[in-house]
Amino acid sequence: MSRRIVLAVGALGVGVATLEAQVPVRGRVLAAENDQPLAGASVYALGARRGAETDRHGRFVLWLGTLPDTLVARFIGRMPDTVVLDSVPGEVTLVLTPSAVPLAGVLVEADPRRPADAPPATWSLPAEAVAAVPSAVEPDVFRGLALSPAVAYPTPFSSQPFVRGTDPGAVGYRLDGFTLINPFHLGRIFSALMPQAIQSVTLALAPFGEEFGDATSGIVDARMREGSDEVRGGGQASLVSLASWAGGPLGRHRWFLGGRHGFLEHLGGPFGEVPYRFNDLYARLALAPGGAAPVHLTAFWSGDRAFHRETGEGVGWYNALLGLRVPLQLGAGGQVELWGETSRFSEDVVGLDIRGATDIANRFSTSAAGARLQWVRPRGSVSLGGEVRHRRMRNRVTGGDRAAPGARSDGMVTALTAGLHHRAGPASARVGLRLDADGVVHAWQPRIRLGLDLGRGWALGVAAGRTARLYHVIAEVLPGVEDVASVYDLWRPAGRAGTPLPRSDHALVEIRAGRPGLAFRAGVFAGNLRGVGEIRPAAPDTAGSFFRFGRGRVWGADLELSATGARRSVGLAYVLSWSRRRWDRDAAPAIPWRHDRRHQARAFVTWFTGRGWRFNLLADLASAEPITPAFGTMELAGLHPGEGSLNRRAPASPTMVLGPENSARGGWTGHVDVGVRKEIGGPGRSVGHLGVSILNLSLAPVAPAVPGFSEEGPLRVVYRPRFFLPPVPTVTFDLEF
């Protein structure tokens, strides 16, 4: 024991001696085309053999012992930039120009940062990559998340992602790091984030960094565009919307504004009686007072409205977000970030036949203020954070014969975080701890991530930890409705009225390799989910409350391989996974989760044919989802108050007799989506794109099955597709100046 202490003290002494001889070098990494900060870029000192990663403001701090040295900044899809340091500069700026290499989404794994520092199970996708994924109805950032094999969708129509066998409600959404509550349009067929307003999007799977809370399976964090040093903008037209955006300088400050308007309400036909409109507004200001690091202001609003002109029946909802982030310097290697946010979601459903003639008034609002301190040292960093949040949620579901129970919750929530990052030789370790607490329930969440450079471009990543959320987001699931479009969520505060705390323990191991033109990643993962919840399905032996809660287990392995050439890029991914649940009691039998797909294979191809033509293809094939089979039918007797109670005098309509829940499998699903883009213009001039894409080129009703009664011939139980997926065309034209 004493020997270990001596060694530790000795190592500390060496560290201190090294520290005294070093100086911090600060800098920023910017995108060449618009001077926007690049978050997640790697900066590497060739002489010192030391690297750093930029924060969300594009900033980095590197401790160097000797000068001169050479810094190299890299980011996926961009040419590296190099700067030689002869002396300690005030601030280094590295500017990365977009690379001529076509972007396949899986290429993000080829990011040649210091491999051990790259967080495992994290995908950083530039806007160009997500925009290359063929869209449905509208260009969509969330549909582009299909570039990660960890992401799947409840149906091919949906853009609401779920990750690695966990519920869609377990994913948390952020815009510039601020809370987005429900950023979707039109039954979640497409999201409220259009690629033209986004610089990049990061998907971090659990156990993600301790700075993230309010999610148990993954975080989707989109970064909005910033204005550049000259005014630039553009416009886009699609079959259902018009969009425009612009950004530029205002003195030392930068601004960006964007908007999208769905114009279906102005059309006649079926939209005459029920006008559907949707709008998105994006705004970002980067205020640079006196040469200090810019203060960022993010504003976002999106809304949908579809109410019958005469009856007033319909649905409407909106999202609103305002966030402020103030980065400050604190001494030689210290950084402070102060931030505040307020985010609201409001949804009204009037008279829709969801659970009978149901009226719904859902309200969710949250406001928070927080600070994060970080001290960067030569071999790592230490960070501390805290936030105080007020959260208010209301579910009011009234009317109808199967109305859901409501929820009402107000209160303050506190979160404290601490993190330690340390590098030693080829190894890198991040240890974090997060505490979320409200007046009733609290959750400690330790998280650890380890990285190891194996040489020759190979790296190993290991992560384990706990994630929790102090409330549930439970998607309404209704036969025949939610198969296609998701209508609304129900929120349940945890730790009250028999509602357990949702918390998950995750562990994963992945190995990565990146070489010019080739990238590889393979991983295994497992998760133990506690306090998962869902709406109790209508199935035999499931009497009881409206919701059900239980435990779950997910495990599996995934594989990615991508190859990139000068004109073509191909990415292949395969996932083998299991996801099971035990409902109501620990001793209950484990049954497959409703989206438990054993196999999933995906291919993404980008092909530049020259003269501005670009073809994109996404093919997705998934094995059958579980279904609850029908054993047969029976006739229900008539209940009569007279003598005997039950009689069978009159024939009754057949009643379905279902088998054990999720004990059978339906059909495989698959779709092939294609997109074609033609670029007009070029460098130094305005650039236009004409895009045509088709979701599901295969023209087949590919879908899992559900039991139902035949509609032709003699009445019998048959299995029919849960939904029909027609080809969905999308046409867009955009012009950027």
Binding site: D401, G632, L636, G644, P651, P654, G667, Y719
Partner: protein
């Protein structure tokens, strides 16, 4: 172009491979249906077979191919009552006993290789409080309000039948949850003759209410009505009711 051709071929093969959906095979099961009636001296049990999935649906009773080896109800702390076949209907079985409110009863049926079990607890007695008399005179075109006491029972069906003996006419009850009052609209009394009606207030246990209240009947994954019963080893429902009644003479 070879790349494009490969893509089209893959898409076509994908379409063909997934156009067919193979359903799990259907399975014939024993169906038991019984709702114990605390007002009756003879209890009824229906034992039938399901129509397997994939077979054409036939209407009417589907009796067992062989009589059940055992069909009985065991009373909590009490006797065992065996059901015997009704000579008038091979799917109907009768047992002579009167269940008691608050008492638990266990059903056991052994038939066609299946052992079917279910349990129910008879709900507390229900009493009509208003109108207080057993027989009331009531204007034909006016609504009638009825109030009752049903102990801990939360689900009550209110029936209006033609007379005391004819139970063949199909009547739709008005299901009431978490309340002790119902108003029967005037049009329910309109048809003539006869000039008398029986108003029943039936307190049901949870499974009976869940199965027989159309508004609460669950829908399956395809949106079809399904059974949410309480029977193991087969399918069906084993519930219990108590009831009170009122004779209404229409004016």
């Amino acid at each position: 172009m070879s790349c494009l051709r490969a893509v089209w071929l893959a898409a076509a093969l994908t379409s063909c491979a997934m156009r067919e959906i193979t359903p799990p095979p259907g399975r014939e099961q024993v169906v038991v249906q019984s709702v114990l009636n605390a007002r009756a001296t003879v209890q009824v049990l229906w034992i039938e077979r399901t129509v397997p999935a994939g077979d054409p649906v036939t209407f009417g009773v589907r009796p067992l191919t062989e009589p059940p080896a055992r069909a009985e109800v065991r009373e909590e702390g009490g006797g065992v009552y065996s059901f015997r076949a009704d000579t008038a209907n091979p799917a109907r079985f009768l047992a002579g006993f009167t269940p008691l409110p608050g008492r638990r009863y266990d059903l056991l049926v052994e038939a066609e290789g299946a052992v079917v079990r279910a349990t129910t607890v008879v709900p507390p007695a229900v009493t009509i409080l208003a109108p207080a008399a057993d027989t009331v005179d009531h204007p034909r075109q006016s609504p009638l309000q009825v109030t009752w006491a049903s102990g801990t029972s939360r689900q009550v069906a209110v029936y209006l039948t033609l007379d005391t003996t004819d139970v063949s006419s199909y009547v739709f009850p008005q299901w009431v949850r978490d309340d002790t009052t119902a108003i029967l609209p005037g049009f329910a009394f309109a048809p003539v003759p006869p000039s008398t009606r029986l108003l029943w207030v039936v307190a049901a246990d949870p499974v009976t209410a869940r199965v027989f209240d159309p508004a609460r009947r669950p829908l399956g994954p395809g949106g079809e009505p399904t059974l949410d019963g309480n029977v193991t080893g087969g399918v069906g429902v084993f519930g219990a009711v108590t009831s009170d009644r009122l004779l209404v003479r229409l004016q």
